[in-house]
């Protein structure tokens, strides 16, 4: 279970542990200005650590060079185009980063008296209202830490609602094109899931939905536009079917970048919404986190929101509403991922209402432009308009012996992050492409050129693709080996 495995040293990046040399330090601690009692006079010896943790002994320059070297082996939005579908890899504004680092935001404690954090509470209160306005909801909690966390929170709210009416509904409906987190969140909220198939147009099959919706239906979870990038145009009928059965509608906000100021989940009939602030509201993805997944609800669900909410008192000061007897309880310590919420608020204020609408317009035009230009070289399983993203199929190339995975690896050689691949599951050899609004026509054209070249190579030079990537710090990695013989930490000693 350690890293003692043959390693080709050339070009590899050593572990920080490999730089260790006894006697070097990178820390600077305050002097001890109280009695310097030995540890065993403070704490009984039998509770003290017997073997020190084998952390490296390095000096500050080692630390800086090591992590700088690692950063150079990584690719972010600031490095280049990142059209990862359903992830909304838009530009992360720098001002927002600076804002979150202001001491008045970064160095405050959640248990400080509310009177000493009025600026923070005002920001949160305003953000609650802004997100409610964007989604067409009545109330918003900012607590959930991520999209999946928001889904689970929303489903727990739905469950509390049904239980408050004396109903034990057991099933959550999810389309077969849904994100994997949807059924996983439903399971964590105690529900079983029923999968609703898509019709030939890639939309929810209404007959299948009618057949599945019934007295045991707690909710339908839906992304709109869906993961194929298609707007569920019969959303009113979908809502009516679910509501008639006594169920509620959950909006997975992963794709909200298509609809800001253009259509609101609340107006479509949704009862609960989560937004991914790290997608739509531009907060950086951080290499996989942190994010934030606020949840908005209609009035009838407001009593069940998690504790606490941020409120504005009649006198104009801000505080907490903890007295919520019907609340599902606490779902996150303190006040959610506040540092992310600061960035999202800054983002909304950098655009305002007209700007947010323009964001979605540009995101959708960019996606349609790419779809049009790529539709000759790749199969388009669902032709027509798309919203902020679309899917292509690599079926044509697969017939030539080139899989979508291979083409994704080839794109790395062009300095482009590949699209999301093999999702949604209902399309063969899927590529799911989301350009976002912050990419220029020149960048999109360069991507098209690369994609067209890859399609050409699939026919005429398959070896180039099968050998790819050839410009990255490592070539294709053996994922099967990693899972079969797990090595999950280095040998630190």
């Amino acid at each position: 279970m350690n890293g003692n495995q043959p390693v080709s040293g050339s070009g590899g990046q050593p572990f920080i542990f490999d730089r260790s040399k006894p006697g070097r330090i990178a820390y600077s601690l305050p002097d001890c200005d109280v009695r310097e009692l030995p540890a065993e006079q403070l704490i009984p010896a039998e509770l003290l650590r017997t073997v020190p943790a084998s952390l490296p002994e390095v000096y500050e320059v080692d630390v800086v060079r090591h992590y700088t070297a690692l950063s150079r082996r990584n690719f972010g939005v600031d490095n280049g185009f990142y059209p990862l579908g359903s992830c909304t890899m838009k530009y992360n504004p720098k001002l927002n980063e600076d804002a979150a680092k202001l001491p008045g935001f970064a160095s405050i404690h959640p248990y400080q008296p509310a009177t000493t954090v009025q600026g923070a509470l005002e920001l949160l209160f305003t953000l609650q209202n802004d997100l409610a306005a964007i989604t067409g909801m009545d109330s918003v909690t900012l607590q959930p830490a991520a999209g999946a966390h928001g889904e689970w929170t929303g489903l727990m709210i739905i469950r509390a609602y049904h239980e408050s009416r004396g109903e034990q509904r057991t099933k959550v409906l999810v389309p077969d094109s849904s994100h994997g987190t949807n059924p996983a969140s439903a399971a964590a909220a105690g529900y079983t899931t029923v999968t609703i198939k898509s019709d030939a147009r890639g939309l929810v099959d209404l007959d299948a939905l009618r057949a599945a919706a019934g007295p045991d239906t707690a909710a339908l979870m839906l992304t709109n536009p869906n993961t194929l990038g298609l707007f569920e145009s019969h959303i009113e009928e979908i809502a009516a079917i679910v509501h008639r059965a006594g169920g509620l509608l959950y909006y997975d906000g992963a794709n909200a970048n298509a609809i800001m100021g253009i259509a609101r989940p609340g107006d479509m009939g949704f009862d609960v919404v989560h937004l991914n602030l790290h997608k739509t509201m531009s907060t950086p993805h951080g290499g996989g986190g942190p994010g934030a997944g606020p949840v908005g609800v209609k009035q009838l669900l407001e009593p069940f929101l998690p504790k606490p909410l941020i409120v504005c008192h009649p006198v104009g000061t801000y505080g907490y509403d903890d007295n919520r007897p019907h609340s599902i309880g606490r779902i996150k310590p303190f006040h959610g991922n506040f540092g992310i919420l600061v960035r999202a608020y800054a983002y909304i204020r950098s655009y305002g209402p007209i700007g947010l609408r323009r964001v979605s317009e540009c995101a959708v035009l960019n996606a349609n432009y790419l779809l049009s230009r790529l539709s000759t070289a790749y199969d388009v399983p669902y032709p027509g308009l798309c919203k902020h993203e679309f899917v292509l199929s690599g079926a044509r190339q697969k017939a030539l012996g080139i899989r979508t995975l291979d083409m994704a690896k080839r794109l790395l050689d062009f300095g482009i992050h590949p699209p999301t691949i093999y999702f949604p599951l209902i399309v063969e050899e899927t590529m799911m492409i989301e350009p976002t609004e912050t990419e220029s026509k020149e960048t999109l054209d360069a991507f098209v050129d690369a994609m067209l070249q890859v399609a050409w190579e699939a026919e005429h030079s398959p070896e180039t693709i099968l050998q790819a990537p050839s410009t990255t710090v490592v070539s294709r990695l053996d994922e099967a080996l990693a899972a079969r013989r797990p090595i999950l930490h280095c040998d630190c000693d």
Binding site: Q5, F75, A99, S350
Partner: protein, 455 residues
Amino acid sequence: MSSYRHRYLPMTDQDEADMLQTVGAASIDELFRDIPDAVRYRGTLPVSAQLDEPALWAHLRELAERNTDVSRCISFLGAGLYDHHIPAVIGHLISRSEFYTAYTPYQPEISQGELQAIFEFQSYICELTAMPVANASMYDGATALAEAGLLAAGAVRRKRLVVSRGVHPEARQLLATTARGIGLEIIEVDYIAANGSTNLELLEQTLNDQTAAVIIQSPNFFGCIERIADIATLAQAQGALLAVSVNPLSLGLLEPPGRLGADIVVGDAQPLGIPQSFGGPTCGFFAVAEPLMRRMPGRIVGQTVDRSGKRGFVLTLQAREQHIRREKATSNICSNQALLALCAAVYLSVMGKQGIQEAALLNARKAHFAASAAASVPGYSMPMAAPFFNEFVLRLPDKLSYAALSERLWSDGILAGYDLEQSYPELAGHMLLAVTEKRTRADIDRLLARLEEYA
């Protein structure tokens, strides 16, 4: 054509016209014709108004300045979130935008930096906790604790979790919400009033063959160090797992749970160089005994080789995860706190083998000095006798309320400790004080003088 221009948006009128022509649409509005009229939004969103960059910066600074940050006071407030020194290099390194503007490393060939950093983070957590396996991080310590409960229930196939009242109150609330989700039962076990640690007699009586796990925190919410090995023995006797939430900094000084019989070790990495940030984002860590490896929630990075045999890293054991298993996944989590795991990893690199021990000892020395001095101020006492790390409970004089004391301390620029009555009704007039390495002798003396004055 839109007259709207913005520094983040590259679309010019010419671009728009050219692109619409390629698409074959007359206007952008036409791209939305698949949205039924009845659900089209035609108004102007009632959101906050747009601000230009200078005005936005001024506004954000103004909001920030209306908060009293801990650099403008002397903080003795901890209770799960601590005022530690953050080495300067951390901010610079995690601000490398190759790190913070990337997503989950789905394409390992261009994500080796992030993957190796997480692999090293996992290594650090294994070293600190003395556990064989750790994951790539969780949202925070409290959600990690709740996931530990879920994991145990699934692994042991039992539905009852026994949790000590010494666990952070918010973590217990969160655990209760989580347990309700999948129908688990929670039983709380009290602490010994005179000692502050979990009542082992009560615990033993509570455990039976229905118990999936015992969940404790050490040092616990009162700062007290629990008898982890004894609790592990009690849990094992009933075939239950032991999950321990720890303060990672304390492990520079205290014997790690991995050597005391814990099956799952979780915690919040905030003390490791992560700003308090009003409570989030922080970073949870999650480590398990080897038999539980394939039941772990979240992302895990593993080492492998590329086609030429060169060492590299990938996300691994993904058969546990939601994008593969959907409703049968071990958890619904699909992210981790990569940037803050990086923060903790840089912190531990900076502190190193010696620094982590010195920092932990320094915390303990200052806290013990402050505790014994405060308890010797007439009227004040330390009601809980268990050994502690850097946080302790102080009982106030009978006639002095927490509210009165904290208000007067604040007017002197001192941020009081946590009011325990908020979460433990029986502890009215008890304050939880944290003393980190940042508190100077002068800070502590100032607190002591005020305590004496107000007694």
